[in-house]
C-alpha cells in the first residue's frame, strides 16, 4: 500500500512537471508581455522595456525560462519557495493566499448543497423509476446540463436580485403568485408520492391547500419583513426532524432512537431562550464552538438513558437530529438579524446584491450581521454554481442506485424479509455512495479553478479572477501560480478518489492491475 501511494505520488510530481512545462510554453508563446510598451509613445518606454526584460528574463527562450521559474518553486524543499512576483510587484503566493479562501467559501457551499440535494433527488427518481417525477427530473437535469452558466447568472441577477429585492421591500405575495406556487407545490408532491389516481389527486389538493394557507398567512402577517421561527417554529420543526431522522436512520419502530431524538427536540426548545440571551451578549466568538461541543456531548449521552443494547445507531440518530436542530436555531437567529440588517444604512431594503463578496459599508463588529451579510452575498453565485453541478449528481446517483438495486444482494436482502427501509438505506444507499464519494472529491477539486465565469459575473475576487488577470496582462508567474495550485488539487484529488474507492469498497484493491 505504501509502495503504491509513493509510486502514485512520484507520478503526480512528474505529471505536474510535464503539464506545467506545456502550459508555461503555451502561455509564453501566445502573448507578448511587452506588447503594450512597444506601442507606447512615452519617452522612457525603451528603458521600461529593458527593465522589464531583465526582470522577467524575457531574453531567455521560454523552455529555458521555465526552469528559472521552476528553480524558485523547488525552493519549497529547502523551506523558501519562490513563486515569483506578479506584474504589479506583489508576491504571487500572497495573491493566491488572499484569493483561495474566497473561492473556497463560494465553492464549498455550492458543492455541499448540490451533493445533498442532487443525491436525495437522484435517489427518489431511481426509486420511482419511470414515474412522472422521474421524467420531469430527467428533463430538468438535461436542461440544467445545457444551460450556459453566464446566461443563467444574468437571469438570476435580474429575477432573484433586482425583482426579488423589490418584493422584499414590500413583502406581499400577489394573488397570481400565491395560486401559481400552490399549484406548483401540489404538482411536486403528488408527483413524488405517486399512487392511484385518487390518491394523487388527494395529495395534490392537500399540498396545494396547505401551501396556499401557509403562504397567505406569511404574506398577511408580513413575515418576510421580520422573519423568525420563534419557539413554536423551533418546536414543531424539531419534532418533525426527530421523526424524520429516526425514520431514515434506524426506522421509527426503534423506540429508543425515537425517544432520544424527541428528547433532543425538547432540549432544543428548553434552551431556546437561554441561547437567545447568549447570542445577544455578542462578543466572545469562543463561546460558539463551546456551544457546539456541548450540543454534541449532550446528544451523545442522552441515548444512553434509553437503551442498554445496540447503542451505536441510536447515538448516531440523536447526534444527526441534534445537528439539524442546532442549525434550526442558527437559522432562527439569522432570521432575527434580517430586520436590522434590512434597515441598516448600508443595505437599505435592497438586501440581495448582484455583485461583490461583502458589503464594505456595513459596520463591522456584529458577528451575526456580518455572517448574514456574507451569506446574502453568497446567495446568487452559489445558486448559479449549484444549478449547474446539481444536475450531474441527480443523474449519477440515479444511475448508480438503479444499478445497485439490480444486484443479487438486494434481492437476498428483500428475500430474507428485511423492511424496505433497511434494504434501501443500509444495503442500497451505502453501496451507491461508494462511486459518488469518489466523484465528489474530483468535482470539488475541479470546481476550484473552474469558477472563473461565476466569479467574473458576480465580481468575486477569487482564483478565477486571478487567473483572468494573469491571462489579460500576460502575467506568467501569476498564471503558473494559479495553475500549480489547481493542477495539484486536480491530480491529488484523483489519487484521493482512488484511495477512497479502495477503502470503501473491499472488492477494489488499490495498486492492483496496472496503475
Amino acid at each position: 500500500m505504501i509502495a503504491y501511494i509513493s509510486r502514485r505520488l512520484g507520478v503526480l510530481v512528474v505529471i505536474l512537471f510535464g503539464s506545467s512545462f506545456i502550459l508555461y510554453n503555451l502561455a509564453a508563446i501566445s502573448g507578448d508581455p511587452l506588447g503594450e510598451l512597444r506601442l507606447s509613445r512615452e519617452p522612457n518606454a525603451q528603458q521600461q522595456i529593458v527593465a522589464l526584460t531583465r526582470e522577467l528574463n524575457l531574453d531567455v527562450p521560454p523552455p529555458l525560462r521555465y526552469f528559472l521559474w521552476l528553480r524558485g518553486i523547488l525552493g519549497v524543499f529547502v523551506g523558501n519557495a519562490d513563486f515569483g512576483l506578479t506584474r504589479t510587484q506583489q508576491p504571487v503566493i500572497n495573491e493566491i493566499l488572499v484569493a483561495l479562501p474566497i473561492t473556497l467559501r463560494l465553492v464549498t457551499a455550492a458543492t455541499i448543497i448540490a451533493i445533498i440535494l442532487g443525491i436525495s433527488i437522484g435517489i427518489v427518481t431511481a426509486l420511482r423509476q419511470y414515474s412522472r417525477f422521474d421524467y420531469a427530473m430527467t428533463f430538468v437535469a438535461f436542461l440544467l446540463y445545457s444551460l450556459p452558466i453566464f446566461w443563467v447568472a444574468v437571469l438570476l441577477k435580474e429575477y432573484l436580485a433586482i425583482q426579488f429585492n423589490t418584493f422584499l421591500s414590500e413583502p406581499r405575495i400577489s394573488a397570481q403568485w400565491l395560486i401559481g406556487l400552490s399549484i406548483a407545490s401540489g404538482v411536486f408532491w403528488s408527483a413524488i408520492i405517486s399512487g392511484t389516481r385518487k390518491r394523487v389527486l388527494l395529495i395534490f389538493a392537500g399540498a396545494a391547500t396547505a401551501n396556499f394557507a401557509f403562504l397567505s398567512y406569511l404574506s398577511i402577517t408580513e413575515w418576510f419583513a421580520n422573519p423568525s421561527l420563534g419557539p413554536i417554529g423551533i418546536g414543531v420543526f424539531s419534532v418533525g426532524v426527530a421523526y424524520g431522522v429516526t425514520q431514515l436512520s434506524t426506522g421509527i419502530q426503534n423506540k429508543a432512537a425515537l425517544h432520544s431524538s424527541l428528547t433532543m427536540a425538547a432540549i432544543a426548545l428548553v434552551i431556546y431562550y437561554p441561547v437567545q440571551w447568549l447570542f445577544e451578549q455578542d462578543g466572545e466568538i469562543i463561546i460558539y464552538p463551546l456551544l457546539v461541543i456541548t450540543l454534541f456531548l449532550v446528544a451523545g449521552f442522552v441515548p444512553l438513558k434509553f437503551s442498554r443494547i445496540d447503542r451505536g445507531p441510536i447515538i448516531r440518530t440523536s447526534i444527526i437530529s441534534a445537528f439539524i436542530m442546532g442549525l434550526l436555531i442558527v437559522i432562527d437567529q439569522l432570521m432575527q438579524t434580517w430586520k436590522p440588517y434590512m434597515e441598516s444604512d448600508a443595505v437599505y431594503f435592497r438586501p440581495i446584491p448582484t455583485i461583490g463578496q461583502v458589503n464594505a459599508l456595513l459596520e463591522p463588529g456584529n458577528f451575526w450581521m456580518s455572517l448574514l451579510d456574507a451569506l446574502v452575498h453568497m446567495f446568487l453565485p452559489t445558486l448559479a454554481l449549484l444549478l449547474i453541478s446539481f444536475a450531474g449528481y441527480v443523474r449519477f446517483s440515479r444511475g448508480t442506485l438503479l444499478e445497485v438495486l439490480n444486484q443479487d444482494y438486494i434481492r437476498t436482502a428483500r428475500a430474507k424479509g428485511l423492511t424496505e427501509r433497511t434494504v434501501i438505506m443500509r444495503h442500497a444507499f451505502r453501496n451507491t455512495m461508494i462511486p459518488i464519494a469518489t466523484i465528489m472529491v474530483v468535482d470539488f477539486a475541479s470546481i476550484i479553478g473552474g469558477a472563473i465565469i461565476t466569479e467574473r459575473i458576480f465580481g468575486w475576487l477569487g482564483m478565477g479572477t486571478l487567473f483572468n488577470t494573469a491571462i489579460n496582462s500576460m502575467d506568467l508567474n501569476l498564471l503558473m501560480g494559479v495553475f500549480l495550485l489547481t493542477g495539484f488539487l486536480a491530480v491529488s484529488a484523483n489519487l484521493i478518489a482512488d484511495l477512497l474507492y479502495s477503502a470503501l469498497d473491499p472488492r477494489i484493491r488499490a495498486g492492483a492491475g496496472g496503475n
Binding site: 512528474v14 503555451l26 502573448g31 446540463y145 450556459p148 444574468v154 433586482i162 473552474g450 465565469i453 493542477g487
Partner: protein, 359 residues
C-alpha cells in the same frame, strides 16, 4: 417443430422479459439498436429539432464556398449596418424586435415577422442575421471539436487499450498531462492571442485538447473486449492487429464511443460560448452565440431580446444533443429495459392466447 420447442426452452417464456424477447426475435444487433432509438421519443424529437436548426441556420445567410456564392433567404447580412428603427418602441429604446406572435384579437397588430424580427443591435445591424451567424459559428466549432477530439480520443484509447504495456503507460501519462490543464485555461491562453486567426483555428486547437475523457473510455472498453473469446478466435485465425482493432473490437465499442462523442459535442458548444463570453473565443466582427450574450448582458433590463435569442438557441442545441446522446445510450445498452405500457402487455396476452388456441 422440434427446433421451435428447443427455442422456447431456452428463452424466458413468461413475464416482461418474454415480451421484450418477442420484440427482438430475428433482428440483427444494429436493427435492434435502431429500433430502440426510433422508439425514444425525446431523442427522435431532438433529431428533428437539430436537423431543422442546422438547415434553417445555414440557409439563412449568404454562404461563400470558394468563388461560388449561395444566396441566403434572409434579406440582411450579419455585418450590414442598417437604419435603426426608432418608432414603435417603448420609451427611448431603439431597435426593438418587430416579431409579433400574438393574433390580432389579443394585441391588435397582427401576426408577422416585420422588418427586424429579433430587433437590431446598438448600431443598427439586423439581430436575426447576427444570431444566425453566431449559431453557424457555434455549430461549426461544435462539429470540428467533436470530430477532431473523437478521432484523437479513439486512436489513443484504442492503441493503449489494445497493446497495453509501455505504450499504454506512456499514452496514459500523456493523457494525464492534458487532463491536468483545464480546457478553459487552454482555450483562454490560445484564444487570447490566436482568436483573430478565425474560428476554425480556435475549434482546431480546442479539439486538440478535448479528447482526454473519450480516450480513457475507449481504452477501458478495449481492455475489456480484447480478453474476450472472439478476439482470440480472430487472432488464431491469423488476423492482423489492424484487422482485429478495426473489424472486431471497434464495432463492439461503437456504442460507448458515439454516446461519449455526443456528450463531448454538447460540452463543446458550451465551452465555445463560455470562451467567447470571456472574450477569448470568437472576436469581432465575427460573432458567436457566446459573444453576443457577452456583449449585451448589461442591456438585459432595457433590451432583453438581445439576450434571450442567442441564449435560447444555445440551450435548444445543447439540450437536443444531450437527449440524442441519452437516446443512443439507451439504444446501445443491452440491459436496457423500457417500461412496458398496458397496451404491450395486452398485446402479449392476446398473442399468447392465439398461440395456445393454435396448438
Amino acid at each position: 417443430m422440434l427446433k421451435k420447442k428447443k427455442n422456447q426452452e431456452v428463452s424466458v417464456t413468461s413475464g416482461e422479459q418474454a415480451i421484450m424477447n418477442k420484440e427482438t426475435e430475428g433482428l440483427s444487433q444494429s436493427q435492434i439498436v435502431i429500433r430502440r432509438f426510433l422508439r425514444h421519443k425525446a431523442a427522435m424529437t431532438s433529431v428533428f429539432v437539430i436537423f431543422f436548426i442546422v438547415v434553417f441556420v445555414f440557409t439563412a445567410l449568404d454562404n461563400k464556398i470558394g468563388p461560388v456564392k449561395i444566396p441566403g433567404w434572409w434579406k440582411f447580412g450579419y455585418d450590414e449596418i442598417l437604419e435603426l428603427r426608432l418608432e414603435g418602441c417603448p420609451e427611448g429604446i431603439v431597435g426593438c424586435p418587430t416579431l409579433d406572435v400574438l393574433p390580432p384579437f389579443i394585441d391588435g397588430t397582427g401576426v408577422g415577422l416585420g422588418r427586424h424580427p429579433f430587433g437590431q443591435d446598438s448600431i443598427g445591424k439586423d439581430y436575426f442575421a447576427m444570431v444566425m451567424r453566431g449559431a453557424q459559428r457555434s455549430l461549426y466549432v461544435m462539429v470540428v471539436i467533436g470530430f477532431l477530439a473523437g478521432l484523437i480520443g479513439i486512436t489513443i484509447g484504442a492503441i493503449s487499450g489494445y497493446f497495453r504495456g509501455w505504450i499504454d503507460a506512456t499514452l496514459m501519462r500523456f493523457t494525464d498531462f492534458i487532463i491536468t490543464i483545464p480546457t478553459i485555461i487552454i482555450g483562454s491562453v490560445v484564444g487570447y492571442h490566436f482568436g483573430n486567426l478565425g474560428v476554425g483555428f480556435l475549434a482546431f486547437y480546442l479539439g486538440l485538447f478535448a479528447w482526454t475523457g473519450l480516450s480513457r473510455l475507449v481504452r477501458g472498453e478495449f481492455l475489456k473486449l480484447r480478453e474476450l473469446e472472439f478476439v482470440d478466435a480472430a487472432r488464431v485465425a491469423g488476423a492482423s492487429d489492424r484487422r482485429i482493432i478495426f473489424k472486431h473490437i471497434l464495432p463492439n465499442a461503437i456504442g460507448v464511443i458515439i454516446v461519449s462523442i455526443t456528450l463531448l459535442m454538447s460540452g463543446a458548444i458550451l465551452l465555445e460560448t463560455a470562451l467567447s463570453f470571456l472574450g477569448f473565443g470568437v472576436v469581432a466582427p465575427d460573432v458567436s452565440l457566446g459573444s453576443l450574450i457577452s456583449e449585451y448582458q448589461d442591456s438585459f433590463t432595457t433590451r432583453p431580446w438581445l439576450f434571450w435569442w442567442p441564449g435560447l438557441l444555445i440551450i435548444t442545441i445543447a439540450l437536443s444533443i444531450n437527449f440524442i446522446g441519452d437516446g443512443l445510450r439507451d439504444a446501445f445498452d443491452p440491459r436496457q429495459r423500457r417500461r412496458l405500457t398496458k397496451k404491450d402487455k395486452e398485446n402479449a396476452r392476446v398473442q399468447a392466447r392465439i398461440a395456445a388456441a393454435n396448438e
